[in-house]
Every structure is written in structure tokens, then in C-alpha cells.
């Protein structure tokens, strides 16, 4: 079987992108006016792509299911964005960012894409600052940086704990300028229901207006999917309630390969589950690991006393605490990559050291940082460094200025003050490295259909490093796709507007309408959430932080059975032609019920452990993930064949020219 062709340009790695840009086809400014592009999703990738395509002169139609493009879930990203600026003079470089990302991804990402990402990272910061994004600055007025997991430099730019919000509002403002000029036509509260393929090319989409239920046809010369990740297949995740896989899944069913679905990031620092009513989980930014130390008690009797409320965490003496990340990984300490930190938390909790009622929580403690910052401030201000209460007060002020909104969020949710007592945290589903397969130009296996941002698979391998999602979303949208799409569209300058009055549009629209009709008339006995929660339980228990063959086989069978039951017994209230959130949710859950099975199948076939994918059968004696490079140095791209279990594996072999593939070590 031939390997998939990723169309990686020839030449030395560091020159590929520059050379490629110089040699691909261009569309003249006059002809760009004749070309329409659809962008689905308005997060960092979608908003930045829409704005840039419109600036270049294309006619853009943008779609989001929220009431405004500013609500896309990129808004909730907290910690920061990486860029190889080396402003701190700590030895950072394009190569080092590239290397850290490949290593962090456990050698399962595409070298050429990652290098390009590192190259354009610096442009992103320049662009955002020019747009008026208020990044954190130091007292000299220059940009400040902090560190994230898996690296030994400070290359993360941030805006308190709201970096995603500020970057998205920057991209949204760039969109607004183009909406005002009429170059972007914005469709809020619209959901993409299907892709329309004409003569083998993506030529438009079918949408549903979520306010009045109207089914609409939209033609274009190219379609860009920027609809984010599929973490909500687990029901409980840090994603927004509306985050879904549907746009990516619909194009998969029309011919786009779906790559590495089992590569999912379980984020180590989230607020633990509090009960069955829980609708989502809240992330506490990785940036907190700059200053927070993670621990559980050393003695099991202390754990018991804490759970019974007889001891408080602050009562546990220093020598009775197990700072297990610092113990196991002295080089990186609390800043190991996310997959490593999550598994280490699970290991301690499985061993009985979890510190809350359910036994699924560890401490994230700021007491040491508060004292350290407080002493520094006292020194700077010429005050008494030995005055404990003064030091604490000054230290708390510094911590508040760095992470204030996160501490407030924690306090509101848990009803405990994290300035006084350690936070309790536990891993939760956060990000999906897998996604729609794309080539170097970010085109899917369907000509004219592109996937960018979290929706594609290409840059993060089997584990994403912190502060790299924002970087990738904006890199794809501002600096990659707007160039590469021209290469394809150069052939479309004489095509003229796409006619939506064609048999292909008829067929797609009819299929959408009949699915909606089926949901509304089904009148079953179980709500949509009933199925979503059941699916989430299967995924978390059998496809979560640790996976094995038996569990994965069971998961495939259980998901298939659940899907069949869903179509028989789901109850969708209300009508098709009105604002009907249950109906919208039913369509999304239907797609999750298919994706979940493919996810389990992918995890089953990949018998190695790598990054966030931990197969119990493949581990070192110390319990670290063990890769199998001889048999699995490839991307698993799945071709749709009807039932998810029947999907056919198409491999893209990963060749590492620049980097020596090694066992990842953070010790």
C-alpha cells in the first residue's frame, strides 16, 4: 500500500516554506474578486483565515454556530502563545521551538509542518501587537514571557490568564474590519450540515439557520473547515458545550481522511468532577505550573485524615509531602509535558493518594511561590523580608497580578480560597491532536476542502505542548492557508460563481432534511444528553488516560450498540423550523457516536504507547510510555467506508531528516 502523499516540498528543511511560497501559483488581485471562499468556524484559525483571505481580496463567507464570531472557544484559552522571539536571551531559536514541538509530540508529527510553524511563530506576535492585542509587559514597556511545560526556555507570550480571549478578539477585530468593508459576509447562528462535492471538488456547504431552522445552500470555490477539536466526544471536557466534530465528520464522510483520532490530550490541571450534574470541566491553566508545586501526602493515613476533614493540606509538614513530579522528573519538575503530568497524577491517585472525597485529585500549591515573590517585593521596596504576614501579602499581590482571574474562577467554582489553601486538580480531556488529515498545503483528501487549526491533525503529533494551540491556529489562519489556497484557486479564475441549483446540492440538502425529519418524528424515550453522557462514560473508562486491547474492543462494540439505540429511541422535542437546541445537539451527538467508534478502533490498532496515547501493553518497567518506532512511525489516516469499524487505514509514513528520533526523557 502506497504511503499518502503529503506533498512536502523538496529541499533543506529550513528552506522548504520560503521556497514553496516563491514557487506556488498565485491569483491576481483582479481575479481574487471572482473567487468565493467559505470558512466554517471563527476561532483563532477560522477568524484569522477569514480576515486574511478578505484582505487579499477573496469574497469570504464565514459561519459560526454561536451568536457572534467572538464567542468561539479559542476565547477560553488561558495561558499563552509560543513564539521563538528569544526576547529573554535564553538561547531560544526557530530550531529549538521546532525541536521541542517534535519531541513534545513524541515523534509523531510531520517535520516540515512543524518547522514552518516555528518559522512563522514570530510573525504572529508582531501581527497581534500591531492589531492592539494587549500582551503582558514589563516595567520597561517591553513584552513579558513565561515558561510552559516540556521546554527549558521562556518563550510564551501572555495576557494574564486570558491570552486566548485577547488573541481571538484581535482576529475578530480584523474580521470586523472586513465585514464592515463587505468583504466578509458573516453568518452567525448557522451550523454546517454537510459539504457539497461537485466533480470531485468541494463546491459548497448546506447550513441550518439555528434561529428559524431554515436549510440554506452556499456555493464557493473552496471550503475551509476551522471547527476545532472533538474533545466533547467524552461529554465531560474543557471544551465549550457547543464544541463538536460535525463539520470535520461530515467532510470525512464525503471523502476526507480522518487522522490519528486516538491522539487526545488529557490536561493535568483541571478542577475535579464534583457530581453527576456536571456539564463540563474547567481548566486551570498550565501557566500555574510555573509557580505552583504539585503534591500528594506521602503517608496514606494523612490522605485518609484529609478526606475525612480531620486534617487540612496546610497541616501536612513539608517532609510528609510527595512532590512526585519533582521527584520523578528532576530536570523538568512541575513543567513536564501534559501527558506525563496527567499520567503521574493518575498513578498517585490509583495508588490511593488522591486527596478529595472521590480520591481523584492532587494538590497544586502556591505557598512557596507566594513567599518567594513576597520576599523579592519586600527587598525591592526596602521592607522587612522577615515579616511573614507582610511577605505573604506582597507575594499574594504578585500571584494575583499573574493569575488573578484563574484564582477567582477556582474560588467561585470550588468555594475555597486558593491564596490560602492549595488548589485541588485532576486531569481532564482538553485538546485533540488528531483530526482531519491534510497535506502540507493544509488541503484534505478532497480537492478544494481545507482544514486548519485544531480541526486538522498535522503539527502536534501524539501530544501538544502548552501554548502551542494558539500558535498553530493563528499560523494556519494568518500565514499558511492564505498562501497555499491560492495555488489551488489559480485554476478557478474562469469558473465563475458556483451554481447551487445542481443535483449535488439537491442531494445534499435532501439528506440533511431527511435526517432532521427523522429526529423530530422519532419521539423516543431518552433525551439526547442521555446518550451523550453514556458515550462519554465509555470513552473515559476505556479510551481515556490508559487503554488496553480488551477495553478498546469492548468500547467499539458498546458504542455501536449505543448508536443503534440512539437512532431507535432518541427523543428530540420541538419542531425543525424553530430555535431548537435539542435538535442541533442531536445532530452533533449522532456524529460523536460514529467518531467514538473510530477513535477506539484507531487506539486498538496502534499497539504502541506514544504521547497522550498510553497502551498498558507497551510501557517501560518504570511505567513510562514505550514507543514502537519500527512499526508505528506513521500517521493513521482513516478512509470512510460506511460503518466506522469498516474504515480503511491509509498510512502516511513519517520521515525525520533533521531530527534524530529518540526516547523522550524529561528526567
Amino acid at each position: 500500500m502506497a504511503t499518502l502523499d503529503a506533498k512536502i516540498p523538496k529541499g533543506p528543511l529550513a528552506e522548504k516554506w520560503t521556497n514553496h511560497k516563491s514557487h506556488i501559483n498565485l491569483v491576481s488581485p483582479a481575479n481574487k474578486r471572482l473567487i468565493d471562499v467559505i470558512v466554517v468556524g471563527t476561532g483563532l484559525a477560522g477568524a484569522s483565515a477569514s480576515a486574511t483571505l478578505a484582505e487579499l481580496g477573496y469574497n469570504v463567507k464565514s459561519f459560526c454556530f454561536q451568536d457572534s464570531p467572538r464567542r468561539a472557544h479559542s476565547i477560553a484559552a488561558q495561558g499563552g502563545i509560543n513564539a521563538a522571539k528569544n526576547y529573554q536571551g535564553d538561547g531560544d531559536s526557530t530550531y529549538r521551538l521546532f525541536y521541542d514541538t517534535i519531541k513534545g509530540g513524541d515523534y509523531r508529527s510531520r517535520e516540515a509542518n512543524v518547522h514552518r510553524l516555528a518559522e512563522v511563530s514570530t510573525n504572529i506576535i508582531d501581527q497581534c501587537v500591531a492589531q492592539g492585542v494587549p500582551f503582558a509587559r514589563d516595567y520597561g514597556g517591553l513584552l513579558d514571557n513565561r515558561s510552559f511545560g516540556g521546554v527549558l526556555v521562556s518563550r510564551t507570550f501572555y495576557a494574564k490568564g486570558q491570552t486566548g480571549q485577547q488573541l481571538l478578539l484581535g482576529a475578530y477585530s480584523a474580521m470586523n474590519r472586513q465585514i464592515g468593508r463587505g468583504k466578509i459576509k458573516m453568518y452567525n447562528r448557522h451550523e454546517m450540515m454537510d459539504l457539497v462535492v461537485v466533480d470531485g471538488k468541494a463546491r459548497g456547504i448546506i447550513t441550518r439557520n439555528l434561529v428559524n431552522g431554515k436549510i440554506e445552500r452556499h456555493g464557493a470555490h473552496a471550503v475551509v473547515i476551522a471547527s476545532g477539536g472533538y474533545g466533547n466526544v467524552f461529554f465531560l471536557s474543557t471544551n465549550a458545550m457547543g464544541s463538536n466534530v460535525s463539520a470535520g465528520w461530515k467532510i470525512h464522510k464525503k471523502g476526507a481522511h480522518f487522522a490519528n483520532p486516538c491522539f487526545t490530550q488529557i490536561h493535568p490541571t483541571c478542577i475535579p468532577v464534583s457530581g453527576d450534574h456536571q456539564s463540563k470541566l474547567t481548566l486551570m491553566s498550565e501557566s500555574l505550573r510555573n509557580d505552583g508545586r504539585i503534591w500528594v501526602p506521602k503517608k496514606i493515613e494523612d490522605v485518609k485524615a484529609i478526606r475525612e476533614g480531620q486534617l487540612k493540606p496546610t497541616d501536612i509538614a513539608e517532609e510528609d509531602r510527595d512532590y512526585y513530579l519533582e521527584r520523578r522528573y528532576p530536570a523538568f519538575g512541575n513543567l513536564v509535558p501534559r501527558d506525563v503530568a496527567s499520567r503521574a497524577a493518575k498513578e498517585r491517585c490509583d495508588a490511593g493518594f488522591g486527596v478529595n472525597k472521590t480520591g481523584e485529585a492532587v494538590y497544586l500549591d502556591f505557598a512557596a511561590a507566594i513567599i518567594r515573590y513576597g520576599k523579592e517585593q519586600a527587598h525591592v521596596k526596602g521592607l522587612d523580608e522577615n515579616d511573614a504576614s507582610l511577605v505573604k501579602k506582597l507575594g499574594q499581590e504578585v500571584v494575583r497580578s499573574k493569575y488573578g482571574n484563574l484564582f477567582q474562577m477556582y474560588d467561585k467554582i470550588v468555594d475555597q480560597n486558593p491564596y490560602e489553601t492549595p488548589m485541588m486538580i485532576y486531569p481532564a480531556v482538553h485538546y485533540t491532536m488528531g483530526g482531519v488529515w491534510v497535506d502540507y498545503n493544509l488541503m484534505t483528501s478532497i480537492p478544494g476542502c481545507y482544514a486548519i487549526g485544531e480541526a486538522n491533525f498535522s503539527d502536534h503529533g501524539a501530544n501538544r505542548l502548552g501554548a502551542s494551540a494558539l500558535m498553530q491556529g493563528l499560523a494556519d489562519g494568518y500565514f499558511v492557508l492564505p498562501y497555499t489556497i491560492g495555488d489551488y484557486l489559480a485554476d478557478d479564475i474562469r469558473t465563475g460563481p458556483i451554481n447551487t441549483d445542481s443535483p449535488e446540492f439537491d442531494a445534499a440538502e435532501n439528506a440533511v432534511k431527511s435526517q432532521i425529519e427523522a429526529f423530530i418524528t422519532n419521539k423516543g424515550k431518552n433525551s439526547v444528553d442521555y446518550y451523550h453522557k453514556k458515550l462519554g462514560k465509555i470513552m473515559w473508562n476505556k479510551c481515556g488516560m490508559s487503554r488496553n486491547e480488551q477495553g478498546l474492543r469492548e468500547a467499539m462494540a458498546e458504542i455501536k450498540a449505543l448508536r443503534e439505540d440512539f437512532y431507535k429511541n432518541v427523543n428530540v422535542p420541538g419542531q425543525a423550523n424553530e430555535f431548537n437546541e435539542q435538535l442541533a445537539k442531536a445532530g452533533r451527538v449522532a456524529d460523536f457516536l460514529e467518531l467514538g467508534e473510530l477513535f477506539a478502533k484507531d487506539a486498538l490498532e496502534r499497539t504502541e504507547s506514544c504521547g497522550g496515547h498510553f497502551r498498558e501493553e507497551s510501557q517501560t518497567p518504570e511505567g513510562e510510555a514505550m514507543r514502537d518506532d519500527d512499526n508505528f512511525t506513521f500517521v493513521s489516516a482513516w478512509e470512510y467506508k460506511g460503518e466506522p469499524a469498516d474504515a480503511v487505514l491509509r498510512k502516511e509514513d513519517l520521515a525525520y531528516e533533521e531530527i534524530e528520533v529518540k526516547t523522550r526523557s524529561y528526567k
Partner: protein
């Protein structure tokens, strides 16, 4: 906890709405307000009653999509939180809770508690941006040092989530706090100064066309703002507007 909910029900923008009463039992104090609404809706669905429509998405207080008017206050009785971050421990067992949509002429009801806030987007289209293209050739980010004090103030203004609580809380349904936050962010930064004159004139003009009311400095918006956006921004916008009007 057992509660009585009085909720505004309205099928769509073209029909009249009314309050309906629903009892709800076994509410956990650890639930968020929206999780309580999820439980209510699951119950309504099982009884064959249309679930209550409401806007929500991120459920961590940052997307700005949730928008309920609870017991006479936008986002409910707690301070500096959105409805999704409001927890049931803030209410008492046996309490009756009144839930209405954000009300303003410029925010027509879509269904039940969901309203159309696209007027906010249109104000942003009029000038909420810096005119800089994505060229990849913009100057180095550290080429313009910015006074930390100004940068922090710009950041504080930029944390507005565009939820509309300021409008819903204002007796005049004024959007001054929302508009001034964006005007302030750019007015405080050198990148935004170039277009400051046109920006404030265009955004205020659009605000007026959308039918928002005038500001009479009652300060209700600042009190109810989940992000603590300061009235200082309105003062700054008034100065910017006056200066821009004199300029021309």
C-alpha cells in the same frame, strides 16, 4: 435544595411572552446555575414540555454567551461572575427565583431567555479594529515599548466579554460601557491612536442607530459587569468623542 423557578417563556420574537412557574427539587449547592437549568430541561423534556431556550457555550465565564436576568440582576446576585459561574450555593432552600432575558429594544428576544445581541457586532464593524493587514512584515513587536501602566489599563478595558449585562442593567438600556471599553483599549495604545478620531465617531454613531439609550451616569453597568469594566472608560470615551467632534 428545593426551588421554585419563574421563567420567561416566549416562542419567538413575533409573539407575546409570559412568566411560567416550575418547581425543581434536589438541587445541589455545587451546581452552576446553568447546570440547574440543564436538570430542569431534562425534566421538562421527559414530561413532553418544550425545554427552556437559553444561550450558553463555554461555561467558564469568558465567551459572554450566557445572559440571564436573575432576580432582577444581570447574571444574578453574585458579583464579577457570569450566569455560568454563578453557583446554587448563592441561593437558599425554598427560594423562588425569577429568570428573565436581558431586556432592551436593541436586544430582541429570539426565544425564551435567548436574545439577539448582533447590534454589538455591528458597532464593532463600524470601528472596533486597527487597520493593519496580515502581511508578515509588520514591525517587531518590541519596537514600540508601551508604558506598563497604559498597557495594563488597555488590558483591563479589553477584558470585556460583550455579554450585554451593562445594557440589561441600565434603566436607559445604554451601551456606553461596552462601546467605551473598546474605544479605551485602542485609545490607550499607540497602535490605536492613528484612527482614534474616526473610530470613536463611527462607533458612537452606530451605537445610536442601533437604538441604545443615553448614559445618565447611574453606574449600574459597572456594578453588574461580570468583568468589572470601570466607568472610567465612559469618561475616557466622552473625552475622546468631544475631542474628535471638535476636530471634525
Amino acid at each position: 435544595m428545593n426551588l421554585t423557578l419563574k421563567i420567561w417563556r416566549q416562542a419567538n420574537a413575533n409573539v407575546k411572552g409570559k412568566m411560567e412557574t416550575y418547581p425543581i427539587e434536589n438541587v445541589s449547592p455545587d451546581m452552576s446555575f446553568l447546570e440547574m437549568m440543564d436538570v430542569l430541561n431534562e425534566g421538562l423534556i421527559s414530561k413532553g414540555i418544550d425545554p427552556v431556550a437559553f444561550d450558553h457555550d463555554c461555561r467558564e465565564g469568558i465567551c459572554g454567551m450566557c445572559s440571564m436576568y436573575i432576580n432582577g440582576e444581570a447574571h444574578g446576585p453574585d458579583r464579577l461572575v457570569t450566569t455560568c459561574q454563578l453557583h446554587m450555593r448563592k441561593f437558599k432552600d425554598g427560594e423562588t427565583i425569577t429568570i428573565e432575558p436581558f431586556r432592551a429594544n436593541a436586544f430582541p428576544v429570539i426565544k425564551d431567555l435567548a436574545v439577539d445581541r448582533s447590534a454589538f457586532d455591528r458597532i464593532q464593524h463600524a470601528g472596533g479594529f486597527v487597520s493593519v493587514n496580515t502581511s508578515g512584515n509588520t514591525q517587531d513587536a518590541n519596537a514600540i515599548p508601551i508604558d506598563k501602566h497604559d498597557a495594563d489599563k488597555a488590558f483591563d478595558a479589553a477584558t470585556c466579554i460583550g455579554c450585554g449585562a451593562c445594557v440589561a442593567s441600565c434603566k436607559n438600556a445604554s451601551a456606553m460601557l461596552f462601546v467605551s471599553a473598546k474605544v479605551s483599549q485602542y485609545a490607550l495604545l499607540p497602535q490605536g491612536k492613528v484612527e482614534a478620531t474616526d473610530r470613536v465617531l463611527n462607533m458612537v454613531k452606530q451605537m445610536d442607530e442601533e437604538g441604545f439609550g443615553n448614559c445618565t451616569n447611574t453606574g449600574a453597568c459597572e456594578v453588574e459587569c461580570p468583568k468589572g469594566i470601570s466607568l472610567e472608560n465612559i469618561a475616557r470615551m466622552n473625552r475622546e468623542y468631544l475631542g474628535a467632534s471638535l476636530k471634525g
